[in-house]
Amino acid sequence: MIGWTTLLLLMSAATPILFAALGEAIAERSGVLNLGVEGMMITGALAGFAAAHATGSPLAGFVAGAAAGAAISLIFGVLTQYLLTNQVATGLALTMFGLGLTAMFGRPYEGVKAPSMPGGPLGVNWAIWLGLALVPVTWFVLNRTRRGLILRGVGENHDAAHALGYKVRLVRLTAIAIGGALAGIGGAYVSIATVLQWTEGMTAGAGWIALAIVVFAGWSPWGVLAGAWLFGGVAVLQLRLQAAGVAVPVQLLSMAPYLATIIVLVIISARQKYRGRGSAAPGSLGRPFHATR
């Protein structure tokens, strides 16, 4: 029963949260906690759908979704990095702003159909392949390049990075924009590839799951992939089992990824306590940076 079709469904269900969580992991690695993932995703979902509908090309839709996600994330970036607003409050506001904005501008697109998504190798569309490819790329850039090192340095200790002459705000703004673009692609995937239409509020909490996955993953791209597949896999598997007529404890299964997140958090903090290992969270995560010199 858990054959290729199920795996396909799983990968498809995991793709939006994979993109969004990868983006959020990059932003958080630079020390920015952006709780506006849901708002950026829904913006990408609408912009992507609108562009795909207007041009007839899903590719144009994904590009537009990325651009819109990045654009709206920069509002958050300017507010938190230059005007030093509280990151948690601003992120929450970004989510509400995105939901409201898309509800308003999405009206003309209700009931409109999306162009069909071209298939790719092995019957997997290329957006899924792109998501998978981004995992090693993100890992490599973060851990094996100078830019990645600077980004992580800014996230671990912004004062030290600043003292060394790195432009903390510019690095963070870039990370925020990349996070926004990836969340936008994730949102566009929901409207263009999964649901094939625009509906108000259609991301329905996927952004929050992405945020949970970043913590579950310990801020690592491979962990993000595992988390996205776990969340996506459980969601799809329980639907498949139900459709096959197997009696499954739906509530238990739906709960499983969240339970796993809590267990991982407990393990992380226990490791910190008993082995003296540092937390996986970036040292400056969520702290405002103000250059005093």
């Binding site: 079709t5 199920t6 469904l9 498809s12 269900a13 939006p16 509800a103 999405g106 009206r107 209700e110 009931g111 409109v112 159909k113 999306a114 069909s116 929901v190 999964t194 649901v195 094939l196 239409q197 509906t199 108000e200 509020g201 259609m202 991301t203 329905a204 909490g205 996927a206 969601a235 799809v236 639907l239 498949r240 139900q242 459709a243 096959a244 007529g245 009696a247 499954v248 404890p249 739906v250 509530q251 739906s254």
Partner: protein
């Protein structure tokens, strides 16, 4: 959670809502010509949801068209259930609305509280069961529409596998699944009904995934009791047919959407506004169905063969003529007897339905 989620717990208490009108208690006097009646609405979702709230707003537009400048309407959309609803209702009452429609189950307590403060304002609450002298309730027999769709589905399936995307295992949805299954089997003894619970009213991605999971099991006809059009979009992509839910969902005609259950609140709204205008409005609780025009069957498209269409229309007309979709002999899923030959359930029984009928192999999640 939203309007109908609480129905499960409410069901037991809902019984009175299904009884015929309470003793009439005429309220107020006719509204003189030249004086405008202000009518307010609160919606749980956006009017553009294409389903539930959209249909209620069509009702609002219908009374405007019907009564012209004798009335004036306004609405507040996206009202969360709970304390916020009381604020919205108070706002409408203070704005001079003398008749207010609250169109979601979860507005119930807010309606009762606000009604106590504004005794001269009449309230109409959809799908609830708490009433007062100035609070009436109204609901629709969606399961009647399911009997018609089940007839179409049973005749149209080639794989003999029909899928149902359920929201929550509450009586309203259980009635729908049972009614669907009974009428599937009436026209096709070999058909199998596969049920997937989405545990949401509105999550397009999850609804689409549920449709995919059903299609992967060989299902070729899908019914849904969730609010978005995502399952229809999925059917359009992958093949198979489905139905509009709550609204016509005409964008998916002629296929995959081959018909629809439409919640038509217009006749009820027109009637009740008229009663306020001529001073005969009274509190009551009603549960209306196909014969009252409250549950409508959307156009059956040319994708359906003529004999299937005829059978579906015959079923619709039979229900309008008094046939009850739950007519015995019927057993429960565990084989125990439920209804004897020719027997029909009481509205109380239906309002607390928590079991599948015999023949459904799916399990109710516990």
């Amino acid at each position: 959670m939203n309007r109908r989620t609480l129905l499960a717990s409410a069901a037991a208490l809902a019984l009175t809502a299904m009884l015929p009108a309470l003793p009439a208690m005429a309220q107020g006097t006719p509204i003189p010509e030249g004086e405008k009646l202000k009518v307010g609405f609160i919606y749980v979702g956006p009017v553009g949801d294409g389903g539930w709230s959209y249909q209620h707003d069509l009702g609002r537009k219908a009374i405007e068209a019907h009564y012209g400048d004798r009335i004036e309407t306004s609405y507040i959309e996206n009202v969360p259930e709970g304390a916020d609803a009381e604020r919205a209702l108070t706002q409408l009452a203070l704005a001079g609305n003398k008749l207010i429609f609250a169109t979601s189950f979860g507005f119930m307590d807010a309606v009762i509280n606000t009604a106590a403060k504004f005794p001269d304002v009449r309230f109409e609450h959809a799908t609830g069961y708490k009433r007062a002298e100035n609070v009436a309730t109204y609901d629709a027999r969606f399961y009647e529409g399911r009997a018609v769709l089940g007839t179409i589905a049973g005749m149209m399936t080639k794989t003999n596998k029909v899928g149902f995307i359920g929201s929550f295992p509450i009586p309203e949805v259980m009635q729908g699944i049972n009614s669907t299954f009974i009428h599937l089997r009436k026209v096709n003894p070999d058909v199998e009904l596969k049920v997937v619970w989405a545990y949401t009213w509105f999550d397009p991605a999850k609804e689409a995934d549920a449709a995919s999971a059903l299609l992967a099991e060989g299902v070729d006809v899908i019914l849904q009791h969730t609010d978005s059009t995502a399952p229809l979009a999925k059917l359009q992509e992958k093949g198979g047919i489905g139905f509009g839910q709550a609204s016509d969902m005409a964008a998916f005609k002629p296929t995959p959407r081959v018909s629809a259950i439409i919640d038509n609140w217009e006749p009820y709204y027109i009637k009740r506004v008229g009663e306020v205008l001529d001073g005969t409005w009274a509190s009551h609780g009603v549960w209306l169905g196909i014969k009252d025009g409250e549950v409508g069957i959307g156009e059956i498209t040319e994708a359906v063969p003529a004999e299937v269409k005829a059978a579906a229309e015959a079923m619709r007309d039979q229900i309008a003529g008094g046939y009850h979709p739950f007519t015995g002999p019927l057993n429960k899923q565990d084989g125990s007897a439920w209804l004897a030959e020719g027997q029909t359930p009481t509205d109380e029984e239906l309002a607390s339905m928590d079991f599948f009928v015999e023949g459904i192999t799916a399990q109710i999640p516990r």
